[in-house]
């Protein structure tokens, strides 16, 4: 992990040197969340058929964007995400999902009103506490945003992840400021309805989609009575609904606090017919710190 961050830092420094003097912007994202136990069905063939699964998750992401030309920004950085699950003993689920990746991409403005983004996240995606070479994956996104007006933007995009059951996942969204204080920000992964309480405080309600593919340990299947899962990839999907507040602490930093319900969680071992889903929701709380400078 440290090596990866060092590499990302060096890459960011190198990329920054390509930029015209002073024209480098930075993006910071981080969050930590706690989710209560959600009732989960593990399947009939397991000794443990039902149980409660709780979760802690954290994310850190840092991206440097040197401006190469008037219309092109490079994106170089690193990201880390970690899920730790509290499981009943013998539950056929990994207790950890984590990724550590580089972020390499580009933003391009074209035809005045269009913004395009390509961004790859080559790195390790593991369903255990350690990384090895077999965990490598390179998911990437392609996105386009059309600025119809200052108050209305359309977004189209897709995520390409060859390890996922859906290798190409298309999506569309819209950001519409339909009244002075209201913004319909229906853009994945965090579609929201926002109320601009003041220039430094925004209240919102909406959802969050967390998805990813992670490689299970080589003996995970054998240890859980389903040998096909040894070294297989599991797709993780989580859907939350909640509300919160975003406070602009300074011009550059925003602190968010939210709470709600983790409504849907799915572990899809798609190389087999086996998947695990929750059968009940669970409360969650999340705190985030983001910055642009």
């Amino acid at each position: 992990m440290l090596k990866l961050l060092s590499l990302a830092f060096l890459a960011a420094v190198a990329a920054s040197s390509l930029a015209r003097a002073g024209e480098v912007s930075y993006e910071l994202g981080s969050n930590y969340s706690l989710t209560g136990g959600a009732r989960t069905k593990f399947g009939d063939f397991q000794d443990v058929k039902n149980g409660y699964v709780s979760e802690q998750s954290a994310l850190f992401r840092f991206v440097a964007s040197p401006q190469l030309t008037d219309s092109v920004l490079l994106r170089v950085g690193a990201g880390w995400q970690h899920f730790a699950f509290g499981l009943p003993e013998g539950a056929p689920l990994p207790n950890t999902l984590q990724s550590a990746s580089l972020i390499l991409g580009m933003d391009v403005q074209a035809f005045g009103s269009w913004l395009f983004r390509i961004e790859a996240a080559p790195g390790f995606y593991s369903a255990s506490n350690r990384f090895d070479a077999d965990d490598l994956n390179v998911p990437f996104i392609l996105g386009a945003s059309y600025i119809a007006s200052p108050d209305l933007q359309w977004i189209l995009g897709c995520e390409v992840n060859i390890r996922n059951v859906w290798p190409v996942l298309p999506g569309a969204g819209v950001r519409w400021k339909f009244a002075e204080k209201w913004v319909f920000n229906a853009v994945l992964p965090t579609p929201r309805l926002e109320y601009l309480m003041s220039r430094s405080l925004t209240l919102y309600g909406g959802g969050e989609l967390k998805v990813g593919s992670y490689r299970l340990e080589n003996r995970f299947g054998s240890e859980h009575g389903l040998r096909e899962l040894d070294g297989a990839w599991v797709d993780y999907t989580e859907l939350r609904a909640g509300c919160g507040a975003a406070w602009k602490v300074t011009r550059k930093l925003t602190l968010e606090a939210e709470g709600g319900v983790m409504a849907y969680r799915n572990f899809d071992y798609h190389h087999t017919a086996y998947e695990v889903e929750n059968s009940g929701g669970a409360p969650y709380a999340q705190i985030s710190l983001g910055g642009r400078f």
Partner: protein
């Protein structure tokens, strides 16, 4: 992406006066086949050619990159299917307030001696809407010391002191109408007396904003524009006041809140056409300073009709721009271009009538 953008800020109107109207008739009306090439060389707008412009297309690009966090520049080139003089006239007479889509709620031409009574009369014509209500609410908060608007400390303290002196004016309650009519009259008189340097400074996020310095900084960052428009800039002498500007006030929409704007326009015949400058030296919200440059060239279309090639450059300084970085900043330039295109589309539509 694109949240908190400044792009609600747009150019609403160009108001030109014909100080040299007679001189316009003596301008060269011969086709300027090289005008497009001149714009291309000057602006770097990609894909410029007369046939594309003849189809009504507005070609746009960002301005020169600025090393000024609050600053941004965009430029546009378009063709108006009217001879030079009529095109300048169209720009002079064009009133964006006629088009609800452009959200200009009020436009008034002013003299340097405009009184609070003149502004009160204008305010009475404004129709109530959510943006105006929001401005009224922000103004009323001054009584509790809350400062969401761009005002000097001395100006803010004046709120409520004029109460009782007048009546409600349109959707503006009496204290609000009295406050703004006094403030706008004072700022107009100050500009008429001594240019931007006479405008009261105000604080934004702990920084003192002087509009004269904002103008100077924007121009410093755009050497090509500064050089090309040196004749009109010299004449206008924005910092200390000069020339014979046409003054105006507007009430425009800035991201859902109405904002009073004060501006001055200048025009000047140059050897191959006309130049004009619209300097917005005060806005109650949204932006700190804005300069819009126009250059007009007479051209002949492929069908042999006289027309006018227009280059427009907008330079804006805004506190919220300083908070945008990376792709958000790219997006805000795109959004600003979109607004300018919308204005230009209406203007071109009027030219065809």
């Amino acid at each position: 992406m694109l949240t908190q953008s400044v792009t609600g800020v747009v150019i609403r109107r160009l108001c030109l006066i014909f100080l040299f109207a007679l001189g316009a008739f003596s301008l060269p009306v011969a086709a300027r086949a090289d005008a497009v090439a001149e714009v291309q060389a000057f602006s770097g707008i990609p894909g410029l050619d007369l046939s594309r412009l003849e189809s009504g297309k507005v070609l746009q690009a960002k301005g020169e990159a600025m090393n000024f966090p609050r600053g941004m520049g965009v430029q546009a080139c378009y063709l108006v299917a009217l001879p030079l003089q009529k095109t300048v006239d169209l720009h002079r007479q064009w009133n964006a307030a006629r088009y609800p889509e452009l959200k200009v709620y009020l436009h008034r031409d002013l003299t340097g001696k405009a009184t609070p009574a003149d502004f009160l009369e204008a305010l009475a014509t404004v129709k109530e809407n959510a943006a105006v209500r929001s401005l009224v609410a922000a103004t009323q908060k001054l009584a509790s010391g809350a400062g969401e608007l761009q005002l000097s400390a001395a100006e803010a303290k004046q709120f409520g002191k004029e109460a009782g002196a007048g009546a409600a004016s349109g959707p503006f309650p009496a204290p609000v109408a009295a406050f703004w009519s006094n403030l706008l009259a004072q700022r107009t008189a100050a500009f008429a007396a001594g240019g931007a340097a006479k405008e009261p400074a105000y604080e934004i996020a702990g920084e003192t904003i002087r509009v004269g310095e904002e103008f100077a900084r924007l121009l410093k960052e755009q050497p090509k524009v500064r050089d090309r428009f040196k004749p009109i800039l010299d004449e206008a002498s924005l910092a200390s006041g000069g020339g014979k500007p046409a003054l105006y006030s507007e009430l425009i929409d800035v991201e859902g809140r109405a904002s009073f704007v004060l501006g001055a326009t200048y025009s000047k015949a140059v050897k191959d056409g006309w130049q004009a400058l619209d300097a917005k030296y005060y806005s109650a919200d949204g932006f700190l300073a804005m300069l819009t440059f126009y250059q007009f060239w007479p051209v002949t279309t492929s069908g042999g009709q006289p027309a006018t090639l227009v280059w427009r450059g907008d330079l804006i300084s805004s506190a919220s721009l300083a908070e945008l970085h990376g792709v958000e900043r790219l997006g805000s330039a795109g959004a600003m271009m979109k607004e300018i295109q919308k204005n230009t589309d209406f203007l071109q539509r009027d030219a065809k009538r």
